[in-house]
Subunit: 149 residues, 4 copies
């Protein structure tokens, strides 16, 4: 991928991310975009908690899904949009700390389906731990009105 394409991919992902109302609602932000790899951060807060005060599994899933989905989109042709077909997420530790990061990575980009993973880390006491692991099938959608990102 040429530098120019990288710039295009980044612009496309940032523009699409800005349209995801849920990311704003959760307070999630894009940390980094590279072809096939997108990183999103989230700050633990009562507004995104479950009943014990940890970050809710749904909030972790949301940023993992956006990170993996945008990693997939960053490699798709212009005019294609990305939809999540399915994902699974395993929770390894309760989500607490100062900062949560989800790093989405494409493992196999096919013509229609892309397989991507996301690792979710929590930083606490100056140390980062893997707290959740996510795998997903993303689908490239073409020629459907309103779905080109």
């Amino acid at each position: 991928m040429r530098e120019n394409d990288e710039g295009q991919a980044e612009k496309r992902v940032r523009a699409s991310f800005a349209k995801q109302g849920l990311m704003t609602t959760l307070g999630a932000t894009i940390v980094d975009i590279a072809p096939g790899r997108v990183e999103i951060a989230l700050e633990p807060a009562p507004a995104i908690s479950q009943q014990h005060g940890f970050v809710h599994a749904g909030a972790l899933s949301a940023i993992a899904d956006s990170a993996a989905g945008y990693a997939a989109l960053s490699l798709m042709h212009p005019g294609q949009g990305v939809l999540t077909t399915e994902f699974k997420i395993n929770f390894l530790e309760p989500a607490a700390g100062n900062r949560i990061r989800a790093i989405g990575t494409v493992m196999k980009a096919g013509r229609t389906l892309t397989f991507a993973q996301a690792e979710v880390f929590a930083e606490a006491d100056g140390r980062e731990r893997l707290i959740a692991y996510f795998t997903a099938t993303m689908m490239a959608v073409e020629g459907r009105a309103g779905i080109d990102d």
Copy 2:
């Protein structure tokens, strides 16, 4: 389960749900609680959308997870708390319409692990369609401070 126990389970689930900051943030509400079955509703809105205007996969996952988790909790002993070990969700149709419902059901309650599913429906044009299907392993946690619901 006697009527009295049902009342207890309902009170316990409602009290715990009220502590889930994310449910309030998403605008999710409990519709119904029965032993081993919990229903949660969500209203589509820009604040919980993905980039094409559909409800974000993470928001669907959040209510499916809470519905299935509370279905599991409704059958657990007093003093036990519920944590999600893992879940998978398949998305069958884009999430749009007037109202989304997630119905969580326990399929097997074990001593430590409970297997639960959730069906997610969207109502549009007076008709309801299955839009996502969720399965999860829920864990009963005992004797850990702050985790008794």
Copy 3:
């Protein structure tokens, strides 16, 4: 689906099943075929066991995958073939008894992707129990040589 189509679907599934060397190796047999629903049986035996004498998770997965995959194929157009994109299986009880049955059912048949589930039961002491639950994304493949079933 007319009776004639049903007959066609059944013939197609039976012919394809006969080509699955693994089903013969495991001793699996088709019990029933209907449009969107296929049932496969397996007899527990040391040749398909894991280390504790239960039926191996891989053998249960194999019949669940074939049952769900053929349920999907039974609804596909002539000329299309079926490939498994992904599946998840939860194991609810150790697999033992006289007979194992996997019942695959289509939950949503799309143009390219079909979502199917399979329930796996074990019969022991004249009683049948749900021992595993499986969900999968099946893909319709067209125009690829050798893949039309």
Copy 4:
């Protein structure tokens, strides 16, 4: 882990693997055992095929499950046995070639639950490709007769 423990873990895994009738039936063999990592190989053959001549998804799942399960067992206390709670597997390419390898790795070993992954590779034309990706929750079982490996 001391060298001695490594030797113990290897002996334990080899002895348990030898009891898995299904591995013998499929023609699978252990390639390598290290603490938290186990590699199993399989040779494509008609006896383990699906209808198009590829290795059946169930056979791939079986070796991935054994590789990940034994990676988990290799870190468990003597007297504990391993059971698979759930797994998900994504299929990235049809399984063909001269040799299939599943490499199971522990990602988080907890007291009761272990999270493990397995990567499945196929070697063809002197080149190895990732063809499937597997994640699983493994459970340590204690004090149940006949389940100590």
